[in-house]
């Protein structure tokens, strides 16, 4: 668990930093008050807990102190992770370690509550008062617990502005909402029961109306101030989101561009290697900036990957242009494999610095053109035992119902045209 002690000052003029106490909800059973205090005071946490229990014997002072501290102590801000990790987390590429909280504390709390109930029964008897108290306290506890949870969530959340509902319900899972609704129901029931104790309905209504009016008054008086506060907080949050985005960009540049530049400096004597690194980096950065490839499993994404692979393995540029797009299936996958073979052939044998790939997908057919301006070859002169062209391109396309046309003239380059008819699904 992180320590709340301030970091040793590093500047030339060490400024005085007040030691502040925090709550450590992750470390505690209830609200983390005892754990936080223990860290702050440097005592074993058990001592603090015992002290609270002991104080409780003095007319419940321990409970009151605990509640007050829970209310006023700020939550310990999680330690700032490395920018890369934070960026990955925000992009959803990394799961936060927040597995199943162990249920030990919950069981202990429940046992304590039952015990408290029995004691209360002994003190107050089994009258209505007891149930009013239990319901009221339970309701308050539930709502408080929920607000506490969502305030912790809010620090993790980075989406825009604060809205009041969010402040109470957080991400709004069913658990959050049910906690809130049950809490409010319990409160209202307690109020009604309390009012009914006198035995007259009209009095109950009076009490409820008075309570409602009181609440409305508070909202009227404090409302504008609260709204302004929320607005200011929203501004502050927007600022924070912007700086987080900046951090994301910085992290990506560090992981990719800076690393590649370092590699290039090391390899500056090897032009081929430098060109390869620069091209791979350009492709990576481009896809990160513009995300021009389609969703995974689509033709355009597969062609982009193919181009990147061939560029990395061979010293050529592969320019891919896609018109229309489709999801690859058993029928279209062979076209992709034949395309890869054609591109690799062009990269390996043509001697051209660049290979053009053009794919056009319509509802009725898929066509792929692979063109280079390399040395070309005489198709008839290819030995019959060479399987690259015949087996991987022509036979594969024909086996799956398509065609492959290869035109090449020595000195002018080669073009491979792959055509696959598709069933019109529209």
């Amino acid at each position: 668990m992180s320590s709340a002690a301030p970091a040793p000052p590093t500047g030339p003029a060490p400024a005085y930093q007040p030691r502040r106490a925090f709550r450590e909800p992750e470390a505690g059973y209830l609200g983390g008050v005892a754990a936080g205090l223990a860290t702050h005071l440097g005592w074993p946490v058990a001592w603090v807990r015992v002290a609270f229990v002991a104080l409780t014997a003095a007319n419940g002072a321990g409970v009151l102190a605990y509640a007050a501290l829970w209310l006023w102590l700020p939550t310990l801000a999680a330690e700032e992770p490395a920018p890369g990790l934070a960026a990955a987390e925000r992009a959803g590429r990394r799961t936060t370690r927040r597995g199943l909280a162990d249920i030990g504390p919950a069981v202990a709390l429940a046992a304590l509550a039952v015990g408290a109930l029995f004691i209360a029964q002994l003190v107050f008897g089994t009258g209505l008062v007891l149930w009013v108290l239990v319901l009221g306290l339970g309701g308050v506890a539930l709502i408080w617990r929920q607000a506490d949870e969502s305030s912790r969530e809010r620090w993790r959340d980075s989406t825009g502005r604060i809205d009041p509902v969010r402040a109470l319900v957080g991400d709004g899972g069913w658990a959050a909402w049910s906690r809130l609704v049950i809490g409010v129901l319990m409160l209202v029931t307690a109020l009604v029961l309390f009012a009914l104790r006198s035995g007259r309905i009209s009095l109950a209504v009076d009490v409820l109306v008075a309570t409602a009016l009181g609440l409305a008054g508070v909202v009227l008086v404090a409302g504008p101030w609260l709204l302004r506060l929320l607005h200011d907080l929203g501004e502050e949050r927007a600022q924070r989101v912007r700086s987080q985005e900046r951090a994301d960009v910085a992290a990506h540049l560090h992981d990719s561009v800076l690393q590649t530049l370092a590699l290039i400096q090391k390899n500056s004597a090897d032009p081929a290697q430098v060109a390869r690194l620069a091209r791979a980096q350009e492709r990576d950065l481009r896809s990160w900036l513009f995300e021009d490839a389609g969703p995974s499993g689509s033709l355009s994404a597969a062609l982009a990957t193919l181009a990147a692979d061939v560029e990395a393995d061979h010293n050529v540029t592969v320019e891919v242009v896609t018109v229309g797009d489709l999801v690859l299936d058993d029928c279209t996958q062979p076209v992709l494999l034949a395309t890869r073979e054609a591109v690799v052939n062009a990269a390996r044998h043509s001697g051209a610095p660049r290979v053009d790939v053009y794919a056009e997908a319509s509802a009725t057919r898929l066509e792929v053109f692979v063109k280079d301006r390399g040395r070309g070859f005489d198709l008839d002169a290819v030995a019959p035992d060479r399987h690259g062209v015949r087996g991987s391109i022509q036979d594969r396309m024909e086996r799956h119902g398509g065609t492959a046309r290869i035109s090449s003239r020595p000195g002018e380059g080669t073009e491979v045209v792959l055509t696959m008819p598709l069933e019109d699904k529209s």
């Binding site: 018109v323 053009y358 063109k371």
Partner: protein
């Protein structure tokens, strides 16, 4: 007589690189450089270049803003950008550029493109041809109200497909048994349709591709 060129880009390194590449060609002469919208507009007015090599992203509003503020003149614009995001490409063409090439283009290819643009032709890189085909694909089926404008003819489509496949103008002409001059006519027609075609269809195309 070589073609007078203005290079507009906010990166001095890149301007120097382009200048060095172009200096190898006797066909073009770099007369000035500019680094943002304001200096570019001023340089066009001062030097009256035949062709402006225009970066898409510029401080002060971008390449489209330069074309808007220059207004009608004999200067032609060729977009030269590292970006291949479709909205940049189409946006610049719609603002009046005569062509679009990416920064990975080689020096001789770039010089060739500049001379073509100076001569009044349109210059399509394979990628731009692909975007054009994509943009007009949806409108080809429907007979829109202004169908003359919103459709590509079969011939124009063929030309675009061959360009997208990596063919040069001469090869396109040879493949379709037409003259190079006819190819250029087709390409200018496509460029005009792209610049004038209904806003609605292109907007829909862009939103289909999650670009808006």
């Amino acid at each position: 007589m070589s073609t007078r060129v203005l290079i507009v880009d906010d990166h001095a390194m890149f301007r120097a690189g382009v200048r060095a590449e172009l200096s190898a060609s006797p066909l073009v002469e770099v007369v000035a450089e500019a680094e943002d919208v304001d200096t570019a507009v001023a340089a066009v007015a001062a030097h009256q270049p035949e062709v402006v090599l225009l970066d898409v992203h510029l401080p002060g509003g971008g390449g489209a803003e330069v074309m808007r503020r220059t207004g009608p003149s004999s200067t032609r614009f060729l977009a030269l950008s590292v970006s291949d995001a479709a909205e940049d490409v189409i946006g610049t063409i719609r603002a009046g550029a005569r062509g679009y090439v990416t920064k990975t283009i080689t020096g001789p290819e770039l010089a060739d493109a500049i001379v073509r643009v100076a001569g009044g032709d349109a210059v399509f890189s394979p990628r731009l041809a692909g975007f054009v085909l994509d943009a007009f694909a949806g409108t080809i089926e429907v007979a829109a109200v202004d169908e003359d404008l919103d459709r590509l003819t079969e011939r124009e489509r063929e030309v675009m497909r061959l360009i997208a496949r990596g063919y040069s103008y001469k090869e396109v002409a040879g493949e379709l048994f037409i003259s190079v001059k006819t190819v250029e006519t087709h390409m200018s027609a496509v460029l005009r349709k792209l610049q004038l075609s209904s806003r609605h269809e292109l907007t829909r195309w862009a939103s289909d591709r999650r670009l808006l």
